[in-house]
C-alpha cells in the first residue's frame, strides 16, 4: 500500500535540478528523430484537445507552432472540454473507430480514468522523459499511459478591496458572515475537498476513509450561500462585484487579473490542493499518426517547449531549470521550492479517481439541499 498523501519532498526536487544539465545537452527539439528517413509518413495535421482562451494560446505558442515549424504537420486544436470529450473518446474506442483527437490534454484524474479503462497508448518510450522530474510520472499506474506536463494549485482567489488588512490566512475566512453570498466554488467542489478536510479539523491521512471533517466544514460553508460555477463564471462574478472569494485554479485568476479584474490569490495556512495535468493518446489511431502524436508529446516535455508553454500558463513544468514568469517569482501558486511544495496538498490520483464520484455526489447533496 502506498501512502495516499504525497507531499513532494526535497529529494525529488533536487534530483530534478541535477538532471537539468543533461537536458540541455540532449536538446529540446529532437531534430535528429524528426528528420529521420525511416520516420513514418507524416499526416497533414494532428488534432490536440485543449482548453480555450489563454490555455490554448500558451500551448500554441510553446508547443504546437514550433512543432509545426519543425515537422510541417499542422496542429488543429479541439476546444471541447476535457469532461465532454471523454465519452466521445471512450465510445470511439469501444466501437473500433478512429478517435476524434490525436492527443488529449487532460487533467491527470480524468486521464487516469481513461488509462484504467485501457483506452490510452503507452508513452514510456518517449526520449525526453529522461529529463523530467518525478512530477511527469503518473502515480499508481504502470508505465506512462499519461505524461504529466505541469502542476497547478487550487488557490484562494480574493478581491483585495474586501481584505483591507491583507490576504486571508485561513480557509476559515469562508465562514465569516461578511462574505455570506459572496463565495464561489467549483460546481463539483473540486479543489476544495482537501483543504476543507484540514480546515474542518481533520487529517489528510484519513482521506478517503474518514472525510467527515471536510463534509462538516462544507456544510458550514453552505450556510454562507456560496455560488457554484466554472472559470468563466468566476471571472464574470469577480468583474461585476458579485463575489469576494473563490477557490479556483491560479491560471484562471492570473488571466482575469491580466485583463483588468481586481484580483489576488493566496495559499492559506491549511494548504491548497496541488494537482497535475497531462497529455495522452487514445487508442485506435493509424500507426503513422500515432508516431507523430508521440513526437508531439515528446516535444511538449522538452525544455524549450515547457519554458514557453508553462510561462503562458504561469505554472511549474516537469523539466528542471525552468525560470518562472516575472509576475510569479515567489508566488505560492508557482511552487518551485521544497518549502512551498510541502505546504501544498497532493492526494494520489488513484485515491481521487476511485472516490471522486462519491465526493462529488456528497458535495452536491450538501449544496442542493
Amino acid at each position: 500500500m502506498s501512502n495516499p498523501v504525497y507531499r513532494p519532498n526535497r529529494r525529488a526536487l533536487l534530483r530534478g535540478t541535477a538532471a537539468a544539465g543533461a537536458a540541455a545537452l540532449i536538446g529540446s527539439l529532437p531534430a535528429r528523430r524528426l528528420m529521420a528517413q525511416d520516420a513514418p509518413a507524416k499526416p497533414a495535421e494532428i488534432i490536440v484537445r485543449a482548453w480555450g482562451g489563454s490555455w490554448v494560446e500558451a500551448l500554441k505558442k510553446g508547443v504546437s507552432d514550433p512543432f509545426t515549424a519543425a515537422t510541417g504537420i499542422q496542429v488543429r486544436h479541439d476546444l471541447t472540454e476535457d469532461n465532454e470529450i471523454q465519452p466521445k473518446v471512450w465510445a470511439s474506442v469501444a466501437q473500433g473507430r478512429v478517435p476524434p483527437i490525436h492527443i488529449n490534454w487532460d487533467t491527470t484524474t480524468n486521464a487516469t480514468k481513461s488509462a484504467l479503462r485501457g483506452v490510452t497508448e503507452d508513452l514510456s518510450d518517449l526520449a525526453n522523459l529522461a529529463n523530467t522530474t518525478d512530477l511527469a510520472k503518473p502515480v499508481g499506474l504502470d508505465g506512462y499511459p499519461i505524461v504529466n506536463t505541469y502542476g497547478y494549485v487550487y488557490v484562494l482567489a480574493y478581491r483585495p478591496g474586501a481584505f483591507p488588512d491583507g490576504a486571508p490566512t485561513s480557509w476559515k475566512v469562508l465562514l465569516d458572515p461578511k462574505f455570506k453570498g459572496r463565495i464561489a466554488l467549483y460546481n463539483d467542489g473540486i479543489g476544495f475537498h482537501f483543504p476543507a478536510q484540514v480546515a474542518g479539523g481533520g487529517n489528510l491521512e484519513d482521506i478517503p476513509g474518514n472525510m467527515q471533517p471536510a463534509w462538516d466544514f462544507i456544510t458550514q460553508v453552505k450556510q454562507q450561500q456560496p455560488l457554484l460555477g466554472e472559470d468563466p463564471d468566476f471571472t464574470a462574478w469577480f468583474q461585476n462585484g458579485e463575489i469576494d472569494i473563490a477557490c479556483t485554479i491560479s491560471t484562471n485568476a492570473r488571466e482575469a487579473k491580466k485583463n483588468g479584474v481586481d484580483l489576488a490569490w493566496t495559499v492559506p495556512e491549511e494548504g491548497a490542493k496541488f494537482d497535475t495535468d497531462g497529455l495522452w493518446i487514445p487508442k485506435g489511431l493509424p500507426e503513422n499518426e500515432l508516431y507523430w502524436a508521440k513526437e508531439y508529446i515528446n516535444f511538449a516535455i522538452s525544455q524549450d517547449a515547457q519554458q514557453v508553454w508553462c510561462d503562458g500558463l504561469g505554472l511549474p513544468g516537469v523539466v528542471p531549470g525552468l525560470t518562472p514568469p516575472e509576475d510569479l517569482v515567489g508566488d505560492p501558486s508557482y511552487p518551485d521550492t521544497p518549502e512551498e511544495m510541502a505546504h501544498l496538498i497532493r492526494i494520489s490520483t488513484k485515491v481521487q479517481v476511485e472516490n471522486e464520484s462519491e465526493w462529488f455526489s456528497k458535495f452536491k447533496e450538501i449544496m442542493q439541499g
Partner: protein
C-alpha cells in the same frame, strides 16, 4: 418549332398532374386510402426511431454499474442504478424542483405568450406586427453563456435593475442565482416557442367572433374567458406541452442562472455522464426522466381528449 399535331392537347402541367395521379394510384391504390394517415406519419415515426435506437443503448447502459477500478461497465445487468437514483434524497429534491419549475414556467409563459400572440394576430399596423415577430426571433441568436452574461449585467448586484432601484432608495439585493431567477430565465427562453405555437390557433379565430361578442355587451374579460380561451385551447395545450417538456429537461438555464444550487434533473444527468463518468447512473436518471415526462404528457392527452391540437381526424 410548329406543333406537329393539330389536335387539342391539355396544358403540360395538367398532363403532368395526371401522370402523377396515376403513379400515386399505382404506388398507393385508392383502396389503401384509409391507411393514408399511417403513410403520412411513417417518416416521422422512423425519424424519431433514431432516438429510440439511442434510448435502447442508454437503457442497456442503465442496467450496468460502473467499476471505479477499471472505469468499465459491469458485464451483467442489475437494477442497482435505479435503486440508487430512486432512493437518493438529493435526486428527489432535484426532481421536485424540475417539476415545480416546469409547471410554474409553463403557466407564466402562457400568460405572457397569449397577449403577445394576440397582438401579433390582431394589430392593424404591419410594421408593429413585423417588429413583434423580429423581437421574438432575436434571442435565439445569443448563445446561453453570452445570454447569461447579459442577465448578470442587468440583474446582478450592481446591475441595471439594482442601480435603478437604488435611485429610489431600495438597497441592492440579489436577484440572480436563486429559484426565481431560473424560472425567469426559462420563461424568457420559452416565450418565443409558446408565441409561435399560439399564433396559428389565434389566427383561426375570426376577429368577428370577438367583435360580435363585444357588441352583444360582453366585457373583455368575459370574451377572453368564454370565447378566446376556449377557442384557443388546442394552441394553449400545444404550447403548454412544449414549454413544459422543454423546461423539465432543460439544463443550461439552471446551470447558468441558478448559481449552482438550483440543479434540475438534466444537470444531475450531465454530472453523471461528464463529471463522474458514470454512464450507468446517468442513463438510469435519463430514462426515469423520460418515463416521468411521457406519463405526464400522456395524462394531458387523455384528460383533454382527442380534440386536443385538432387531433382526432375528420368525422
Amino acid at each position: 418549332m410548329p406543333n406537329p399535331s393539330p389536335e387539342f392537347r391539355y396544358p403540360l402541367h395538367w398532363r403532368l398532374m395526371d401522370a402523377v395521379e396515376r403513379i400515386a394510384d399505382l404506388v398507393w391504390p385508392r383502396r389503401l386510402s384509409r391507411h393514408t394517415g399511417w403513410l403520412f406519419i411513417a417518416p416521422a415515426l422512423l425519424l424519431v426511431g433514431l432516438l429510440v435506437l439511442g434510448l435502447i443503448q442508454i437503457a442497456d447502459a442503465s442496467l450496468r454499474t460502473l467499476d471505479t477500478s477499471t472505469f468499465l461497465m459491469s458485464e451483467d445487468w442489475s437494477t442497482e442504478n435505479y435503486r440508487k437514483a430512486l432512493s437518493s434524497s438529493t435526486y428527489l429534491t432535484v426532481a421536485w424542483r424540475s417539476l415545480s419549475a416546469a409547471v410554474l414556467t409553463t403557466v407564466l409563459t402562457l400568460i405572457l405568450a397569449f397577449p403577445y400572440a394576440w397582438a401579433l394576430v390582431r394589430v392593424k399596423k404591419a410594421w408593429i406586427r413585423k417588429a413583434l415577430l423580429i423581437t421574438l426571433f432575436l434571442p435565439f441568436f445569443i448563445g446561453q453563456v453570452v445570454r447569461a452574461y447579459g442577465w448578470l449585467i442587468i440583474l446582478g448586484n450592481s446591475g441595471m435593475v439594482n442601480e435603478a432601484l437604488s435611485l429610489v432608495g431600495v438597497t441592492p439585493m440579489r436577484l440572480l442565482f436563486n429559484y426565481g431567477a431560473v424560472v425567469f430565465g426559462l420563461v424568457q427562453y420559452m416565450l418565443p416557442f409558446a408565441v409561435l405555437l399560439l399564433v396559428p390557433a389565434l389566427t383561426a379565430i375570426p376577429e368577428e367572433t370577438e367583435t360580435a361578442a363585444g357588441s352583444l355587451g360582453a366585457s373583455w374579460p368575459r370574451i377572453l374567458w368564454h370565447v378566446l380561451l376556449p377557442m384557443a385551447k388546442p394552441g394553449l395545450i400545444g404550447a403548454g406541452l412544449v414549454v413544459f417538456t422543454l423546461t423539465l429537461t432543460d439544463f443550461a438555464v439552471p446551470a447558468m442562472l441558478g448559481g449552482g444550487g438550483q440543479d434540475f434533473i438534466a444537470n444531475a444527468i450531465y454530472d453523471q455522464f461528464f463529471r463522474t463518468a458514470d454512464q450507468g447512473l446517468g442513463s438510469a436518471l435519463a430514462l426515469i426522466l423520460v418515463a416521468a415526462g411521457s406519463v405526464l404528457v400522456g395524462l394531458v392527452f387523455m384528460i383533454f381528449g382527442a380534440g386536443t391540437l385538432a387531433m382526432g381526424g375528420r368525422k
